[in-house]
C-alpha cells in the first residue's frame, strides 16, 4: 500500500502541528513532529504567498494505531500586516488514504483551520484539524498562547515560552496540557515540550 513508506517515516521520526501552512512565494517547508498521541509529517511548496500544496501524513497512537497519508492544498485566507503585529487565517483541504495499521486503508479526506496572532512578545494560535474515512474519524483541536522573554531581532535566536492545550477526539486523555519552549533562528524552528502525563512533544520545521 502507498501508506507503507509513510508508516516507516513516521515510525522513525516524530512529527508536528502545521505552524506555517503557507510560507513565502517559492518556498518549500518541511514540518515534522509529535505532540502527545499524534505524529505529523508535512512537506509543502508555496507557489504563491497565499497558497501551498504538498504531502501530509498523520499517525494517531491508540489501541489500534491509525495512519492518514495524502496530498493537501493550503490557503492563506486573510493576513493582517500591522506595524507591530501580524494575524493570519488559514484553511486547507486534502485527500488520501487512511486506516488502522496493518488493516489496509480506504479513501480519506483531511481539512484544517488555523488562526493566529503574533507580536514580537505575544503569540496566540488556534488550530482544528479533521481526518475522515470509512475506518478513521479523528479531530485534533488545539489552542496555544506564549510570550517571548526578549524581543529578538531578525538575525538573532528567537525564544518563546508557550502553553498549549490539545484535544484529540477518540483518545483516552480528554485534554493534553503542553508547556513547551520554542526556538527559531534563520530558517530553522524547534519546539520541545511535554504533556503533563509525560508524553514528549517535539516539533521541527525548516523553510528553504
Amino acid at each position: 500500500m502507498k501508506i507503507i513508506p509513510f508508516s516507516i517515516l513516521l515510525a522513525a521520526t516524530v512529527a508536528t502541528a502545521a505552524a506555517h501552512p503557507v510560507a513565502f512565494e517559492g518556498a518549500y517547508q518541511l514540518m515534522l513532529g509529535t505532540a502527545g498521541s499524534v505524529q505529523n509529517f508535512e512537506f509543502y511548496h508555496s507557489y504563491s504567498s497565499k497558497a501551498a500544496w504538498g504531502l501530509h501524513a498523520m499517525r494517531f497512537d491508540g489501541d489500534e494505531d491509525e495512519i492518514f497519508t495524502g496530498v493537501q492544498h493550503n490557503w492563506l485566507l486573510k493576513r493582517w500586516n500591522l506595524p507591530s503585529s501580524q494575524a493570519n487565517v488559514y484553511a486547507g483541504l486534502g485527500a488520501g488514504l487512511a486506516g488502522e495499521v496493518g488493516n489496509g486503508a480506504s479513501p480519506a479526506g483531511v481539512g484544517f483551520f488555523r488562526a493566529d496572532y503574533e507580536t514580537r512578545r505575544v503569540y496566540t494560535a488556534f488550530d482544528a484539524k479533521w481526518v475522515e474515512s470509512a475506518d478513521v474519524s479523528r479531530g485534533v483541536f488545539s489552542a496555544a498562547a506564549g510570550i517571548a522573554p526578549y524581543e529578538a531581532e531578525f538575525d538573532q535566536l528567537n525564544t518563546w515560552l508557550i502553553l498549549q492545550v490539545e484535544h484529540v477526539t477518540g483518545m483516552e486523555d480528554k485534554l493534553d496540557i503542553i508547556p513547551k519552549v520554542r526556538f527559531f533562528k534563520g530558517p530553522y524552528f524547534l519546539e520541545l515540550g511535554s504533556t503533563l502525563t509525560g508524553k514528549l512533544v517535539v516539533n521541527f520545521m525548516i523553510h528553504f
Binding site: 500586516n81 503574533e118 531581532e153 531578525f154 538575525d155 528567537n158 520545521m205
Partner: protein, 107 residues
C-alpha cells in the same frame, strides 16, 4: 525654439531621474507585519536574488528592510513592492538616502 528647448530639458531631466546613479545608494524600506524572523525569511531570499542588490538587512525594531544597491544599478519601487508582497508583507514607504548602508544599519 524656446518650447523645444524646454521640452528637451524636461526629457533630459526625466531620463536622469530614472537612470541608475553612478554611486552606491541605500534604500530604506518600511514594512508592516515583520514580527517573526522565520516568517521574514522570504524577504531575504527574494532581495538577495536581485542583481542590483549587494546587501540586505532586516531591522524589526525600526520596521525596516535596508537595501544597498550596487554602483550603477538600481531596483525600482515596483520591484520592491512586488518582493515584499511575495514575501507576505505590506510595503509602507521607500526612501533613498545619502547615508551609507552601514550608517543606516547602525541607526
Amino acid at each position: 525654439m524656446k518650447i523645444f528647448s524646454i521640452v528637451s530639458l524636461l526629457a533630459l531631466t526625466a531620463t536622469l531621474a530614472h537612470a541608475a546613479p553612478d554611486r552606491v545608494v541605500t534604500v530604506k524600506t518600511t514594512v508592516n507585519g515583520m514580527v517573526c524572523s522565520l516568517c521574514a525569511q522570504g524577504i531575504l531570499a527574494h532581495f538577495k536574488k536581485h542583481p542590483a542588490i549587494s546587501n540586505v538587512h532586516i531591522d524589526f525594531t525600526r520596521k525596516l528592510v535596508l537595501l544597498e544597491e550596487r554602483k550603477g544599478k538600481s531596483i525600482t519601487d515596483e520591484e520592491i513592492n512586488e518582493y515584499i508582497k511575495k514575501s507576505g508583507f505590506e510595503l509602507v514607504k521607500v526612501e533613498r538616502v545619502k547615508e551609507s548602508f552601514d550608517q543606516v544599519k547602525a541607526g
